[in-house]
Symmetry: C2
Subunit: 674 residues, 2 copies
């Protein structure tokens, strides 16, 4: 090989950030393999890429060849309509193209390239939508570790463990071991990571106060993971190698110890856990939409993002709602484009402030009169919650689920808490303990919860319905539209729904009469146990809408508790019994078949029955595609997954159109049939 020989590897655009700039390396006097093998350090392909003035780029060395390559690059992109990864060689100053293929790229690059190519009219908007994976979009929304800082930490051996990447993004903070400390420390301005073996509804305020949550137990749909994603918090869950010692306030891991107050950094996108602090960089999109610290005009990436979302909205037929219990969560979801609330869990409100005392008083009451008295205290607070939600949602539908969890979840756990409560309520600790014991259940998932609570204690449903309709009337009087949809959980039998609906309708009538106004509302049900899906034709006689609760439907259809599945689900996925975690992605052959049956039976009874999904699957792209296929009207997901669901819905609509076109093509022409 002579002086006039060389070889190069290049991308038609930058695979890291998606910039529309030719990007590559070359070697003089070398074979292609030399570049790939990394034996010699290659040179930059053009002046723009140069970081070292002493070297010569291809552009400088052989400007004519470079121009030819650029021309080829333009032709290739025009022809293949995508960013190409190309190899070429130069012999006697003559350019030979060796290979071209679609180039791999980062999430950021995929996103930017797709949008740029529409602008350049290389591809259609629909093609752009198909080129951005919904989960790639997720990465755009998350704070990340500063890449250099993370690299430093890795090299220093600070990565101490790896758990499940349960809540994407990166967070750094001081270790605290309980929710109360998380709140207190956060109030005095500390950034904290809440470290727990697992979390329960009582930890919610602490979770909200923390930068991130780290648990040693539980899977991708454990309480910690679910709530973290709903809150948009970083979360690494089920990190089993951590030995969390609440008593000594220390984490022991691989011979190291991390004390309360020391820094940890967790990457919820990868599951990595680091000892020490690592700097994070926030997402521009969130700064525009949520924090409002950046104007749309200041962020190129936000503008691109908004454009992609606009295209998705034009294409998709599936509605996108959000799971939100608080006005602030709802506001974020609306900023992301949510078209309603698909699931408001009223029990989350029961933990706010002093309410838990009234809730506990209700549970401990000896009779209905006692329960009603305690519920009276809750009524104005629940009403305020709904006023807040309705106001934020400005006439968008708000689906409110009546009380769902078993009552024992609201009672204290430790002896000290029991003693405190006894003093507060003026009863004996024994009485409380005896109540806790009597409410203990062998399998709480399948126990006294959902509508079974409202059926045994109709006064609870009554209070909740009253709070909903009084709030609706109040907001309507402020000239803000309201669309409440009351949703009865865990229905398995038409008679359950009938009884609960009667309570709701009666309260609505009373409240409307008292307020001399009326509000349009619906009463529907969750379809979350197999019997509901199987008897959906019956249930649709009473239900004005269905919402598939695929978290519980997966648990019951598969006979698998998501809290306990950790022990066997990993070997199960490894042995390919299930090719994915059915709690993350809808098991189409099982749960999906029941969903389809439910939709078809339901609409057989009530033609235009509105059907949605409010399980965690509502924010998972493959599951969203499935929901589109079985004809749901909407999916509901956590606020931070609204845009992902939108993109997935758009892609499903495009895919479906394609399939239908193919089907039409394949079908024999009509006239031939005659």
């Amino acid at each position: 090989m002579g002086e006039d020989c060389g070889t190069g590897v290049a991308f038609t655009r930058n695979p890291a950030d998606g910039e529309n700039a030719f990007y590559g390396e070359y070697l003089v006097n070398a074979q292609g393999e030399d570049v790939v093998a990394g034996i010699r350090t290659p040179l930059p392909i053009n002046k723009k890429q140069k970081t070292d003035a002493s070297v010569k780029s291809l552009e400088e060395l052989w400007p004519d060849i470079y121009k030819q390559v650029i021309k080829v690059r333009n032709n290739l992109e025009k022809n293949y309509r995508d960013m190409q990864d190309i190899e070429f060689t130069i012999q006697n100053r003559k350019l030979w193209m060796l290979q071209t293929r679609t180039g791999k790229r980062t999430a950021f690059a995929a996103f930017k390239i797709a949008i740029d190519m529409v602008r350049q009219k290389l591809i259609t908007k629909e093609e752009a939508l198909m080129r951005v994976e919904p989960d790639q979009l997720n990465q755009l929304l998350r704070p990340i570790f500063d890449p250099q800082e993370k690299d430093k930490a890795l090299k220093a051996g600070d990565m101490v463990a790896r758990g499940l990447n349960a809540g994407p993004g990166a967070a750094s903070g001081k270790v605290v071991f309980n929710a109360e400390d998380a709140e207190n420390w956060a109030n005095r301005g500390e950034q904290v990571i809440l470290v727990r073996i697992d979390t329960s509804p009582e930890d919610i305020r602490g979770m909200n106060a923390a930068q991130g949550i780290l648990t040693s137990r539980g899977g991708m749909t454990s309480h910690a993971a679910l709530v973290a994603r709903q809150m948009g918090k970083v979360c690494v869950a089920g990190c089993g190698t951590l030995d969390i010692d609440y008593a000594r306030k220390v984490i022991r891991v691989n011979g190291k110890t991390i004390q309360e107050g020391e820094f940890v950094s967790i990457d919820g996108t990868t599951g990595e856990v680091f000892a020490g602090q690592i700097k994070t960089i926030p997402s521009e999109i969130l700064r525009v939409l949520v924090d409002k610290t950046l104007k749309p005009s200041q962020s190129k990436i936000y503008q691109d993002f908004a454009l992609l979302m606009k295209w998705a909205d034009e294409v998709r037929s599936l509605g996108i709602r959000t799971n939100a219990d608080q006005p602030d969560q709802a506001a974020i979801a609306v900023a992301f484009g949510a078209e309603g609330i698909g699931l408001c869990r009223t029990e989350h409100m029961f933990f706010e402030g002093d309410r838990i005392d009234a809730v506990r008083e209700m549970i401990l009451a000896d009779d209905k009169a006692g329960r009603v008295a305690a519920l009276e205290k809750l009524l104005p607070m629940q009403k305020d919650d709904f006023v807040g939600l309705f106001t934020v949602m400005k006439g968008l539908p708000v689906t409110i689920r009546t009380l769902d969890p078993p009552l024992h979840e609201f009672l204290p756990h430790t002896d000290r808490e029991v003693a405190d409560l006894a003093q507060k309520l003026g009863v004996t600790a024994e009485k409380i303990q005896s109540k806790i014991d009597s409410l203990h259940e062998a399998n709480p998932m399948l126990g006294h919860r959902g509508c079974r609570l409202g059926i045994v204690f109709p006064e609870i449903t009554e209070m909740q319905a009253r709070a909903i309709f009084e709030a609706a009337c109040e907001v309507k009087k402020k000239k803000i539209n309201v669309k409440p949809e009351v949703m009865i959980p865990l229905v398995g039998n038409i008679n359950e729904l009938k009884l609960q609906k009667d309570v709701v309708v009666q309260v609505a009538d009373e409240v409307f009469k008292k307020n001399k106004t009326k509000v349009d509302y619906m009463v529907g049900t969750m379809i979350e146990i197999p019997r509901a899906a199987i008897t959906a034709d019956e249930i649709a006689k009473e239900a004005e809408f269905f919402s598939f609760g695929t978290n519980d439907l997966t648990q019951t259809t598969l006979g698998m508790s998501r809290d306990d599945a950790g022990k066997f689900l990993v070997p199960y996925v490894e042995k390919e019994i299930y090719s994915f975690d059915p709690f993350q992605r809808i098991d189409e052959a099982g749960v999906g078949k029941l969903m389809k049956l439910g939709v078809d039976l339901g609409r057989g009874t009530r033609k235009n029955l509105k059907c949605g999904i409010c399980g965690e699957h509502g924010g998972e792209p493959n599951s969203v595609a499935f929901c589109h296929k079985v004809g749901l009207n909407y999916v509901s997901c956590s606020p931070y997954r609204v845009t992902i669901a939108k993109l997935a819905a758009a892609r499903a609509a495009i895919e479906n159109k394609k399939t239908m076109k193919t089907a039409v093509k394949k079908a024999p022409a009509k006239k031939k049939r005659k």
Copy 2:
């Protein structure tokens, strides 16, 4: 009204014991109402009935009238072909018949009348089968309280509580509060009633030693109730008014206390609980078939019973198997006419004698090698179990379920037990406690159990398969036929069955090769979670038989834990949400629909797929009828319900023939179609 007037009420046969003898009362100079109202004491209708020589029966007073009545009685029975309840009046020595209707009767009478009427050629065998309710048959098998003694106890106010009639029959014994005491006291010749808040698998030997079981918690399908019925033990369950104090060894109820060692008497047919001892009378049928203390020729009732069973066998198409884990249980079932074992729960064998130590050693092992070593100890014992079962069953099919319950059920519960085990195994108590903690599950029903155990620990399935096939070879060498059917529990996905079947088939091949013989066997699965029913077409590719586990299928399809349902199932049945307890009787609209789907899908793949049921419903008459309707091949029930299931199966076949006849009648004749 003159001297020659009178009025009478009579049954054409004795409604109490079914004797073929005219039985009634009359009053001279009276209206019919006088007899009914009981204002005057009526007189016996004939000499046979007289207990007081000073009164005159109708037969004596007006022999001509009496003869007329007898003639009418014969005509009425001939015409109505059933025992009649008649009213007549006499005016001026002339007989006027006022009314006749089918007479109410006791279970004993119903049974006897039906059989006698066939003998008298008044009705057909099929009609006789339709006239005995299967549950009436149950009453014939049970010991009962001596009626006079019970009456005395009631009058003395000894009835202290009422629970669920969970295991029919009557039992009296001294109160003991734990299984160990039950065994010890029984060994020294005492009759005991085991009184527990609830029971667990560890209590089995104590339950077996006791005359009856009384619990304060749990429903009709609680562990205590299930095991009691399987053992044929008297059981009153869920008697919530009892305050059972283990520490002080006392029951407190309604201000009374019953100490350890004092007598209680429980009626499992009515749910009544008495303080003190009440004499019981044994069932003749059991004395012939099980105790062998009576010869068939000595018992008229046994002969009638055997005849009815013969008729049932002629008519029914549904096979009847039994759920039995021990040779003695199996022998009883065979005596009742069971045609195979439909469910042998291998885990029950794990509690026998010292085996539990080996089981615990296996659970506590740190690795596979440790588990295998412990399993080696269990192998010969499990093999012996199967040798026993195969020998008793003499070539009838024996369905053996591989290990099903979560492992934590085998670990000790109290600190003392933990300490004992630690010493036995030479490990620290901390290690055991930590294992117990790590195996703790939020919802064990939906946890790491069933085939999930065998998939994570294939060595367990391997040991069990080896025990089965080695036993089969050994028994076959003794020229006794063997038909093992290995059943994999809790399958929800074809891949689970595939993996477990591979283990079983490989072990079978090895054992057959080593023994130079072969045994016909099948590998099948339980259908007990909704996903299995929904994907039965897939599962039937591997499964050689299906057995519906309707206990768990009801729990998962309804999303209802049977252990926890007590709190809401009573109001549920009261409010007619479910018109019966779905754990007792198959919920046809939900669980039944899945069963039908499973059978149809399964047979779509494998035309002659054998389908059975081994849940508790297999012994419940309405459910047996449903099983017939959906085309199951057999039902399997506890030994003491085999005859009930037989009768129910016969009745279902008769009903079905009727329906089909009607359907044929209604269908337009074929030639019209042309």
